[in-house]
Amino acid sequence: MSHGVEFCGLSLAHPVINGSGTFDAIAARRAFGPALERDFPFAAYVSKTITLAARAGNPAPRLWEAPGGLINSIGLPNNGLDGYIAEDLAQLAELPVPLITNVMGSTAEEFSALVGACDQRPEIAAIELNVSCPNVKTGLDIGADPQQLAQVVGACRASTRKPLIVKLTPNAANVPACAAAAQDGGADAVSLINTLRAMALSPQEGGERRPWLGGGTGGLSGPAIRAVALAQVAAVAARVSIPVVGMGGVQRSSHARDLIDAGATLVAVGTETFRDPATGARVAAGLRALRRTGEGFPTA
């Protein structure tokens, strides 16, 4: 039985991809050499978020270990659109899987400029919109307001015929409504969840307590958010007809299986990859085994 899966017109070898910003294939090539391509763990590769202008990212420290999870305040460091196209694209195109480029703007115009540029590049198979950027006026994430979201997605839709995936923000009152707005705006798929807004105070003794993270607050990922992700994925999958990419705290194939049973077509792994870069391959193999045994779910 084939383990392959169709996703927005792409034929993928299995249903496991990476979460944006949690795997740098270029750095990994340096660390792991040719094994990276030989044993590439993901069925498609999602780039970290690319913005129009280059960004250095947030001051250190950028990480805090929370119960069952990780808080990061990375701040989307990237070479900017031009740098990405000039420097990164050729290397990413060598990967043995389709390339999904994740982009973020702070306005509909910025988004559609990013998408338009990606549309021109044959190396890019699909585009993911990161709509978790706070809107300067409302303070809300752009993706938290269904109307605004539909408008942003509509502008992007007009700029490309490549598959458009909208990565929803979990910091919204009604995530299924946002997913529906993305679909109405012309999205081919939605992905979720991104990290939950979180914070840690510095453990320093005495004096005024200040936030530990250089960026003030950060985003919580990992096992701690798994049950929140499952609830949001199930609610979104019940609401939209386009495919759903589920992620959040996946560590093992049983977690991926939960997301698929809740309605996800693909599953992404993020934080667990930090603990073991081969996580994606392990999860995919586990799903394959589950299939072979006739969809049986192994209990501990």
Binding site: A28, A31, F32, P61, R62, E65, R275, P277
Partner: protein, 275 residues
């Protein structure tokens, strides 16, 4: 392949077996059976986690693996120098013969060999002496370089760690062993004696910064082995950033941990070893 070039790390964490754990003052030397790992370059590190009991401590930590310099290689063995400073190092210090250890590596950029006819001055503070041990082994294997070892510790119990290297001059903060004062005072003497040297340093951030500043002033090349909180160790998370000269950040795990001192304006407070 020379000992200065690194082979890529296996692309998955591996389960290794603990051979033993030895006391060295307040430190522990963890020895693990490690046959398949490519030979590390001095200065490289591994991400380690115990196979059991990782997680579930106070505040449910540790969760992520922790970074440790490869302190020494023997045939089929890797050694790590550990100081118990928190939940992750505590669990590692509690390992016993036969226990399992998850390891990913060797990772990162190691030290560059000194230019011909330059003396290597190894400057290590506290648990930061670890990568200098394997560096000393490598330099002595080539026999072409004069090696001077300067090690600094907070107190006598820590100064026992100096036994990891040999022929070291030692300084302690409390004067209980060796020179009573700062390690950089010893370095200053050495550079005064003969400044045709290259400095290799690893230790707490204030020490590294003092070394950096001293070498910059005297125009002595220095390679600093930095540290930073790491989630992955292979460039995936961008969490291990330290500011670089001219703006922007370096990732300690892939751009380092060994950084040419000239790439930094200063060593930031989070970029050193536990002190």
């Amino acid at each position: 392949m020379s000992q200065w070039s690194a082979a890529p790390a296996p692309f998955a964490r591996r389960l290794l077996t603990v051979l033993g754990i030895d006391e060295l003052g307040v430190y522990r030397v963890l020895r693990v059976a490690d046959v398949e790992t490519p030979e590390p370059r001095p200065g490289q590190f591994a991400m380690l986690a115990t196979a059991e009991r990782w997680g579930g401590g106070e505040d449910e930590r540790p969760y992520l693996p922790r970074a440790f310099s490869i302190a020494r290689r023997r045939i089929g063995e890797s050694h790590f120098l550990l100081e118990d400073v928190g939940p992750g190092t505590r669990r590692l210090c509690e390992l016993r013969e036969g226990d399992g250890l998850w390891a990913l590596g060797p990772l990162g950029r190691g030290f560059q060999p000194p230019r011909p006819r330059h003396r290597a001055i190894l400057v290590g503070g506290g648990v930061g002496i670890a990568p200098l041990a394997i560096l000393q082994d490598a330099l002595e294997a080539e026999a072409a370089t004069d090696v001077t070892v300067l090690l600094g510790f907070r107190d006598g119990a820590r100064a026992q760690g100096a036994a990891l290297l040999h022929g070291a001059r030692v300084a302690t903060d409390d004067g209980s062993v060796g020179h009573h004062g700062l390690l950089t005072e010893l370095l200053s003497q050495e550079l005064y004696r003969d400044s045709r040297a290259e400095v290799y340093a690893c230790g707490p951030a204030p020490m590294l910064e003092a070394v950096r500043a001293m070498c910059a002033t005297r125009d002595v090349p220095a390679q600093l082995a930095l540290e930073a909180g790491m989630a992955c160790g292979f460039g995936a998370c961008y969490g291990c950033a330290v500011p670089k000269r001219g703006g922007g950040y370096l990732r300690v795990c892939v751009d380092g941990p060994v950084i040419d001192a000239r790439e930094l304006d200063c060593v930031s407070e989070h970029a050193g070893a536990p002190s």
